[in-house]
């Protein structure tokens, strides 16, 4: 553990709110991103983020530095996410509380280099369909896919975070990709206006999708 991290954790253990804020600022974006991609609901993601930090601060005394603090914190968030869905699935449809359309438009417009509102609308529809498909994946498959595809983590890292074998991560990913592929293909057959890859070439880093 780096010395400065140890120092911050020591201050958190002593109840120093400034140190807590420092840790929160450092980790909130990454944790929230995973939670939002997993839940597809800003409200849920916010709740999970809050709960993650509450639990972390309450049990920081038990953190012994066997893993990195980042790993430890992310594991807490992942567990909350997985259990959250398990609890809620019986209560409400998975599609509830999805990212609100108008909010998304307001949010994405400044960042979307597509000047054409019609294209932006199609883009949003595509995004919604994809997130709906991702949302129907079983929790662990979905988490593995989020961590792999969106967070771009290595199989080995995902196995550490989810406390499952690398072989299981591979199986989860395979099943997730097959499900998504079939879901997208099924929708394309029933909806000719679905935007194709050629229309919206995605950002891809080197070696991302080879």
């Amino acid at each position: 553990m780096p010395a400065d991290e140890r120092d911050v954790l020591e201050r958190v253990r002593a109840g120093d709110i400034d140190a807590v804020q420092a840790l929160f600022e450092e980790h909130r974006t990454r944790i929230y991103r995973v939670c939002l991609l997993y839940t597809d609901s800003p409200d849920d993601a916010k709740d999970v983020l809050q709960e993650t930090f509450m639990r972390a601060f309450r049990s920081v005394g038990r953190f012994r530095g066997e893993s990195s603090f980042t790993t430890w914190l992310t594991r807490i968030a992942i567990n909350i996410c997985l259990n959250l869905r398990r609890d809620r699935r019986n209560l409400e449809p998975l599609d509830a509380e999805r990212v609100d359309d108008q909010d998304m438009i307001d949010h994405e417009m400044p960042h979307t280099p597509l000047g054409n509102p019609e294209q932006a609308l199609r883009m949003r529809e595509l995004r919604e369909r994809i997130m709906a498909l991702v949302g129907r994946l079983p929790p662990r498959e979905r988490m593995a896919f989020v961590l792999k595809h969106f967070e771009e983590l290595k199989i080995r890292e995902i196995s550490v975070l989810m406390k499952i074998s690398e072989g299981t991560v591979k199986s989860f990913l395979h099943r997730a990709v097959v499900t998504l592929r079939e879901g997208l293909a099924g929708e394309r057959e029933t909806n000719d206006s679905a935007p194709s890859v050629a229309r919206f070439p995605g950002r891809r880093g080197p070696g991302r999708i080879s």
């Binding site: 002593a14 991103r33 709740d47 290595k154 592929r181 919206f200 070696g207």
Partner: protein, 275 residues
């Protein structure tokens, strides 16, 4: 290659197709996959459609929304700061486990009065609080707050600022009270006389705590001060009626919950109880 062999091989390499797309195959695995792809139309087709699907997903730029409504510290500070205020004692409620009953009783009385007892093996967390207490009045604990006016807060103070100001200006009144409440809730061994004496000590600070809370203008803190005063008064009265003691115990637990964690999201309550 026979049809059957090919199908078995396809199944074996199914996961490798996806790993290949994520560039997670070793050199040897990739070579093996390439040689299979060279002779297997089905797998080539599967690879192509999987790649298309992932590119479609990439094309939706979902990462762009990944920080959509990212909460700031200000958004969550209320919950986080309040949950943290009594953190030093929240982590290990049974911190007196290794002490004799007499030592517990002595340290509770001293803590409640704002004094410091040397030689106890506090962990670093508890030490911070005891240190706070020690700065109040070593020899004469009675009213650590008397004569100290509240330091001015910034015009727009956050919940954390207010909590900090309250803790500083009351020398950890909540934290020390919480210790007494915890022992009350947890222990059947300490005599009622000890608990009520500790509560009476704390009650001597109540007026000052109320004044500080009033100056800080925080309804939640004010409400906690009032509730705490009522609970301490009931503990101090040492009522032996069984029904009242049961109610008191339940109220103490409620208050401990509020001091530890104010209003956790309801949906997590069930899960929390499992962990």
């Amino acid at each position: 290659m026979s049809e059957e062999t090919r199908n078995t091989r396809c199944q074996e390499l199914g996961e490798d197709l996806v790993l290949h797309l994520y560039d997670e195959l070793s050199e040897a695995e990739r070579t093996a996959l390439d040689s299979h792809l060279a002779v297997c139309n089905d797998c080539r087709e599967e690879l192509r459609s999987s790649r298309d699907a992932l590119q479609t997903i990439d094309g939706a730029r979902i990462n762009q929304m990944a920080t959509f409504r990212l909460p700031s510290w200000d958004d969550l500070e209320d919950e986080l700061a309040y949950s943290l205020a009594p953190l030093p004692l929240a982590a290990t409620p049974r911190r007196f486990g290794g002490m004799s009953t007499m030592a517990k009783a002595a340290s509770i009385l001293l803590l409640a009065g704002g004094a410091f007892i040397a030689g106890l093996q506090w962990n670093s967390i508890a030490a911070a609080i005891v240190q706070t207490a020690s700065t109040s009045r070593m020899a004469q604990p009675p009213h650590p707050l008397d004569g100290t006016g509240a330091a001015p807060l910034p015009a727009v103070a956050s919940a954390g600022d207010r909590m900090r100001a309250f803790a500083e200006q009351t020398h950890g009144y909540f934290q020390r009270s919480r210790l007494v409440l915890l022992e009350f809730a947890n222990s059947d061994q300490i005599s009622d006389g000890t608990m009520s004496a500790a509560s009476r000590n704390l009650l001597r600070e109540t007026a000052s705590a109320r004044r500080v809370a009033g100056q800080i203008h925080d309804e939640r803190i004010q409400d906690l001060v009032v509730t705490l005063e009522e609970i301490l008064t009931r503990i101090a009265s040492n009522d032996t009626d069984a029904a009242e003691r049961a109610r008191l115990r339940s109220d103490v637990e409620d208050l401990l919950g509020r001091l530890e964690l104010t209003a956790p999201p309801e949906r997590f309550a069930q899960e929390r109880s499992r962990t």
